[in-house]
């Protein structure tokens, strides 16, 4: 039914009887993210439009200096080596992708001349190839022309395992071929509904020049002198780089977009901590923009009073969640705890899982911790607020949780802790060391105590918790605890990668050195089938329905308890017009930034 309606709607948009925005909002109602809705239009026969530009300045330059404060400064400036967002942000100042994402999840052209669609022949109907036309006349900062050879080279560079590029996963399975000097075609091994991954966005998209990196492909990659002095196509030309401390750039007079950039010079300063970065932007106004201001809302509100800047929010799909271990962390099988050969002694009773969902006071977590930077949610897969799926609800109710446990036979013992068949409801709840996370732990623990569940809290230094170190027992993939809490950033406006993690063949085990991305250890054949179907599904509407089903299954089985849908928080000077997308890095739309006079 939905299917037919949608077809009619797409036709309406194609004829101009329906507004694109209205279409996206209707899509939202069924839980589709904006980027995906746009791609549905693209595949359904309506060209994917560029988001409207809000850029006002009518001439290039004249904006003075733009001072950015990154409290973790970039440590390298080659996008293919980026180990974290800070490096991607720094590289993106000088290098550019073919297209990027705007705050609404629309695609914005950068080095590409047009957005591929079925009409313009860019998209293959079988979803197995996409053809990009490049902007003519684009020059690298050293004056050499930018061509299809550069794009093809980036693919060859990144997919070579000896290069040790962190972007390898995106490029190793695809084939990129040059059609002519200004056209490239990407071939996918299987139908790929989300085709805007390679060469798009700040994370893996930026393109480096072939003529400077050609000699340094493979094992010699680390010797390239331009790893530290980027020569890109971006709005700002590179001047100076001190790892972890400073990146400087100046206006590129030959930039390929009209009237851009606005600022004459650019500075990205690193170091310090989030609170003092917020202070330097919002209170003293020494800097124009500070990234990733994960500071308590009270503090931000206080700084904003009579200050020179404000907090800025961008909605993406990041969800802070608690995951319940499906295996037993306390029993060792063949030298492995949390082994797939075990079952969790308490969580194998669905009543315990159900009770726990009612003991996480998401509203209190929002009020006391995240403030404007968080939204309560019942879903694991979260788009922007207006895109939240309506199939799930959540509640916080200690009495009801207690009743569920009572009915399932978990009776309070002499010490007030519930037990059944000699098993006590005692849980170990771990997370990384991070102020908001410890406070969330405390809120959950308190509610659990009232319901007769004893919760022991554990917090692990982030660099250990998120490590891939096989020798360390405290990493999140090892999951030697009953529950753990963190978030997996959704770095791409499409759920495919995000949801694929949790299929059963991805379980982290000793055998795969805990490299399997499914840390939950939850294995469910229905889920596998849904994901399998979604990945082979070229019909965008059916595909979207499948991902919603996958989300609902994760929630129904209480694999995850979503705690908060987290927003990106940035600090910006009051007169700075900064375009920040929740679907991309902070610097992805930097060419559109300006200052209001």
């Amino acid at each position: 039914m939905l299917d037919k309606k949608l077809r009619a709607m797409i036709d309406k948009v194609a004829d101009g009887r329906m507004d694109r925005r209205a279409f996206i909002q209707r899509m939202a109602a069924v839980g589709l993210t904006a980027p995906l809705a746009n791609q549905i239009l693209a595949l359904g026969g309506v060209a994917m439009a560029e988001g409207p530009s809000t850029y006002k300045p009518t001439k290039r330059g004249g904006g003075g200096a733009l001072k950015l404060l990154w409290w973790q400064g970039p440590t390298l400036l080659n996008p293919h080596f980026a180990t974290g967002t800070k490096d991607q942000d720094g590289s993106r100042l000088f290098y550019e992708p073919l297209a990027c994402w705007d705050p609404d999840g629309n695609m914005k052209l950068v080095l590409a001349a047009e957005i591929p669609s079925i009409q313009n022949g860019g998209l293959a109907a079988d979803g197995k190839s996409v053809t990009w036309k490049l902007k003519p006349g684009v020059k690298w900062h050293d004056g050499k022309p930018f061509t299809a050879d550069d794009v093809v080279f980036n693919w060859e560079y990144a997919k070579d395992p000896a290069t040790a590029a962190t972007s390898i996963a995106v490029y190793r399975d695809i084939t990129v071929e040059k059609v002519d000097d200004l056209t490239v075609r990407i071939l996918f091994p299987k139908p790929t509904p989300f085709w805007a991954d390679a060469f798009v966005g700040a994370a893996v998209g930026p393109i480096i020049p072939k003529h400077l990196f050609e000699a340094y492909k493979g094992a010699k990659s680390r010797e390239a002198p331009n790893n530290l002095s980027p020569v890109g196509t971006g709005p700002y030309k590179f001047i100076e780089f001190k790892p972890g401390d400073l990146v400087r750039g100046e206006l590129n007079p030959d930039y390929h977009m009209p009237n851009r950039p606005y600022f004459d010079t650019l500075e990205m300063k690193g170091g310090g901590d989030a609170v003092s970065a917020a202070r330097a932007v919002i209170q003293t106004g020494e800097y124009d923009f500070g990234y990733n201001i994960q500071v308590e809302d009270d503090v931000l509100l206080r700084l904003e009073k009579g200050g020179k800047g404000k907090a800025v929010y961008a909605v993406g799909g990041d969800t802070e969640f608690i995951v319940l271990n499906s295996t037993d962390p306390n029993t060792e099988v063949d030298g492995e705890r949390s082994s797939m050969k075990t079952k969790h002694p308490l969580f194998s009773d669905p009543a315990v899982r159900k009770a726990l969902t009612m003991l996480v006071d998401r509203e209190a977590v929002k009020k006391a911790i995240y403030g404007r930077a968080g939204r309560t949610t019942a879903n694991f897969l979260n788009g922007p607020e207006k895109f939240v799926s309506k199939n799930n609800t959540w509640e916080f109710n200690i009495e009801k949780a207690a009743k569920v446990l009572d009915d399932a036979g978990w009776k309070p013992g002499a010490d007030g802790i519930r037990e059944k068949d000699g098993k006590k409801l005692k849980l170990l709840y771990q997370t990384s060391i991070n102020g908001p996370r410890q406070k969330t732990q405390a809120i959950v623990k308190q509610a659990c105590q009232k319901a007769g569940i004893d919760v022991e809290l554990k917090s692990v230094v982030a660099s250990v918790f998120f490590s891939s170190d096989v020798g360390n027992p405290d990493t999140y993939p090892k999951f030697y605890a009953d529950m753990e809490m963190f978030q997996i950033p959704m770095s791409q406006p499409d759920p495919a990668q995000h949801m694929r993690r949790y299929i059963s063949s991805n379980v982290a085990t000793k055998e795969n050195k805990w490299q399997g991305p499914n840390f939950t250890r939850w294995a469910n054949k229905d889920y596998d089938a849904i994901i399998e179907a979604a990945e082979g599904e070229m019909d965008p509407i059916k595909r979207a329905e499948l991902y919603i089903k996958a989300n609902d299954l994760l929630i129904k089985e209480v694999v995850f308890i979503p705690v908060q849908h987290r927003l990106k928080v940035e600090a910006a000077a009051n007169n700075l017009v900064c375009i920040v997308s929740g679907w991309a890095n902070e610097t992805d739309n930097l060419f559109d930034w300006y200052r209001e006079v």
Binding site: D245, E286, I488
Partner: protein, 319 residues
Amino acid sequence: MSQYVLRRVLIAIPSLLGISLVLFVVLALAPGDPFSELATNPNVPAEVAASLRAKFGLDDPIYLRYLHWISAMAHGDWGFSFVSRMNVDQLILQRLPATLYVVGSAQILALLIAIPVGVYAATKPYSLFDQIANTLAFVGFSLPTFFTGILFILIFSVTLDWLPLVYTTDVKGTGIHWVLEMIRQAIMPVAVLGLFQAASMTRFVRSAMLDVIRLDYVTTARAKGLGQAKVIVKHVMRNAMIPVVTLIALQMPAVFGGAIVTEQIFRIPGIGSLLISSILANDTPVVMAVTFVFACLVVLFNLIADVLYGWLDPRISLR
């Protein structure tokens, strides 16, 4: 004398080797992973981090890694930062000027305050000046730098808006304007560090002076009619300075090492902030190089202090 120096240098070699071994083993056994950030990025499969670990030799046994490191070090190769993918010596050299400038100025400020105040307080023990100096010194070294640093920021940057909160690496402008701006932005960190050092040093100078000032030869000097200034400067200070010199010499490595907390608060791109960010990122080659440089400096300045003793007090013979 030269024989003594040579012998000390030769003794230093095994102790530095020992230090490097201990540092290396501790760092290798420490938890954490330089590629931890990759682990939460859903776009990057776990085998990418694993292949990076293999490429940088993190999966080799510790003794192999140590042998690699020590032989590279012997060839002047300080190693390669996992996080920045650049040479460690380059990273350290980039950070050195800021540290030398800020921490060096702070040491000079501390000496300029501590020696005159300490000496004057000792000549008039339990006078009003001495009492005030003592009280301030106690307050000074009881307040940690992270507290005074934030206090200064609140007063001078936020409330009064006189001084910048963030230390800029490349100050714009040339000539006198550049010099003034460099001084302006260093005022707060230098004051925070300098006053903290000065507080403890004042107490030290005072007590060293008091020890000497009561000795008989000082009375003799006075008895033969020498003026107060001459007695204090020529007779008392020279002898009282011996322990002070040790203290200063042993603090010199800290000048190179930077002040970790202060650098972090004011965002000074020095060695201290490099060390802390490398520790947080588990960038072991950088941590190893920086700590090893510290160790060398400590050994070196110990030697310098010993040599200075002989010069200050001919009664101490170096053999």
